[in-house]
Symmetry: C2
Subunit: 360 residues, 2 copies
């Protein structure tokens, strides 16, 4: 029996994707081999990777002057790889700090001999809000402005795209990529770990405007040198082939589900119903500023935190798993990425209502 | 129908492993979730990763003062990460060059502000031999000596472990790890990409002696900082969970198959039978010095290279796939890692005999 899995990542994947992978796990498309066993240099896998890249380009409308790279090391690896590729030692890069992932990106950037200019930091709101547009100024000499459109831990999301003038905008889209349409041309670089909306852990996708690459520091590891990887179609070394294959299946599933416009409607409906249930209850609360509430990660607290363990145990019995909040904030968190159906959110809301009636 | 897949990597995996993964792909051990969907911070996955580490420790007899790390970026990533962790800028590190993988490791090391001292280079033998023990002197001030115990492209393997005195020995075991017992205490650091003998692509295993870590350069990316990763049980960031899980299944399979002593006997028998077939034929040839012939990768040429395409096409028809040699050397190559049974090698030898009788 499958459960509704509210894990923040690795996260629920579409059952259709898992069933396809399962059906062909020992014999991929008549090859007599698993997709895990085929050479990444063979024409079948090259076509598979190219198809995944085309899926990203098609769904996101990636302009032709952007490269799409499949890398290893997750988004955390990119925290270091971005300065290596986009800056020289001593350059300035600007960051917005809206939570734990921004904080990690900033910390990593500081190890790369960079002048890190944090333009705004939501520490005083305990990372329950985002800086207002116009409340910070992007220095014109910054190599880029980095921000985190969605923070998974506090469930905080930007409701606007920062204006940066000529300064390239760099965004960690790990927890929100493919959840709705975006305008890629507003960004210099988009990156995302796969394990929330794209597939399994172990793959990072980087979408970068061509004019920003070609000047990596000489000490950049080959496998993170965007130009070297772009020139090698992301196969300078052996790629994580199974993850790339699953990415392709996930993108096909998004296509078959109506594309990103349909995903956006679905995701907005899921989030709205869950926030409405929380807001209409005296028993549950969400502390995030209304304009900054995430569609993807919905943290909430119980009026009596001594009931947390019982809440989680009863939820588990109803097949609602991984609802514990991040250890840094406690309480509950429901992560409701693309693969979570409205039925899962409805089941959660029903349970929350029952629990509040019973114990509230 | 499954084929015998002689790919150099990603490579054949044990069918028992694939079938287990297939059976539980949508419901891992009764969780109602795929192992790809569970949180890496949950107790089930932590136990899974710990079990994989224990499997490596048990099979290889890893001493207690070595750390076992699961990293991303493959062995190619470690080409840069090793200097970052084990040297300071300006240090000397010694390398032996026995083929394309050594050459890549050397090239990467040179980008890391290192004085790279290549003690021996088999270019003049076209990488068909290994430097004799005693033919090179390891400088006592070297941070380490790096070598590649097995080179996949030319099928060349060391038949001895280099003596280095007090200088730590660093070895890229990507294509030979778990193929036979080794004495880990002879090494300062062992690393391996998973996609030959350990599982799917996307995971690198590093086994490093504790006294060598703790002095990573300040610019080392967190996810490659051996100390930071050791302290976080390789979960500083989201690990490639499915690859770690499959590694565990592969290690269980090795255990169930009799462990590394049985693997060694099996692998030696497979290689011996194939080399004997080549050597006893006028139609096939292997150029590698007899003492340096690889158990894992057996390249061979046809007396008439104009028959190569026909050889490959007929082999494919018999269910013998991925026999084309690396593009750098041409001819044929049979990679016969742990998962290739003797029956697969026998089928190859039968076909080679038939083909030589027919066209020789």
């Amino acid at each position: 029996m499958r459960v509704y899995n509210f894990s923040a990542g690795p996260a629920m994947m579409p059952i259709e994707v898992l069933e396809t992978a399962q059906a062909e796990l020992t014999d991929w498309r008549g090859s007599g081999m698993s997709v895990m066993e085929v050479s990444h240099r063979g024409k079948d896998f090259i076509a598979c990777a190219a198809s995944a890249e085309q899926g990203i380009r098609r769904l996101l409308g990636v302009p032709d002057d952007y490269r799409v790279l499949f890398l290893q090391g997750g988004a955390s690896g990119q925290f270091a790889a971005i300065p290596m590729n986009l800056t020289k030692p001593g350059d300035t890069a600007a960051y917005l700090n809206t939570g734990q992932w921004s904080t990690k990106a900033i910390k990593s950037a500081k190890t790369q001999l960079l002048n890190v200019d944090v333009l705004a930091d939501e520490a005083e709101t305990k990372y329950t809000a985002i800086p207002a547009a116009g409340s910070y100024v992007v220095p014109s000499d910054a190599a880029y402005l980095h921000y985190t459109p969605n923070e998974t831990i506090n469930g905080v999301e930007f409701d606007y795209v920062p204006e940066t003038g000529d300064v390239p905008l760099v965004a960690d889209f790990s927890s929100t990529i493919m959840s709705r349409p975006i305008d890629v041309s507003q960004y210099g670089l988009i990156y995302a770990g796969a394990q929330k909306n794209l597939g399994p852990a172990g793959l990072a996708v980087v979408i970068v405007r061509e004019d920003l690459i070609g000047n990596a520091r000489s000490t950049t590891p080959d496998i993170w040198d965007y130009t070297a990887m772009a020139n090698a179609d992301s196969m300078l070394n052996t790629p994580p082939t199974f993850a790339v294959y699953l990415l392709g299946l996930v993108l096909d599933w998004i296509d078959a589900s109506g594309g990103l416009t349909a995903m956006a409607a679905r995701n907005q409906a899921k989030a709205s119903s869950l926030y409405a249930a929380i807001d209409s209850s005296e028993f549950y609360a969400n502390p995030v500023a209304v304009n900054a509430r995430s569609w993807m990660n919905v943290p909430f607290t119980l009026a009596d935190s001594s009931l947390d363990a019982e809440f989680l145990a009863q939820a588990q019995q109803r097949g609602l798993t991984n609802l514990a909040g991040h250890r840094a904030v406690g309480g509950m968190r429901a992560s409701i990425y693309n693969a979570m159906p409205q039925a899962g959110v409805d089941a959660l809301i029903d349970f929350m209502t029952d629990f509040a009636n019973q114990r509230g």
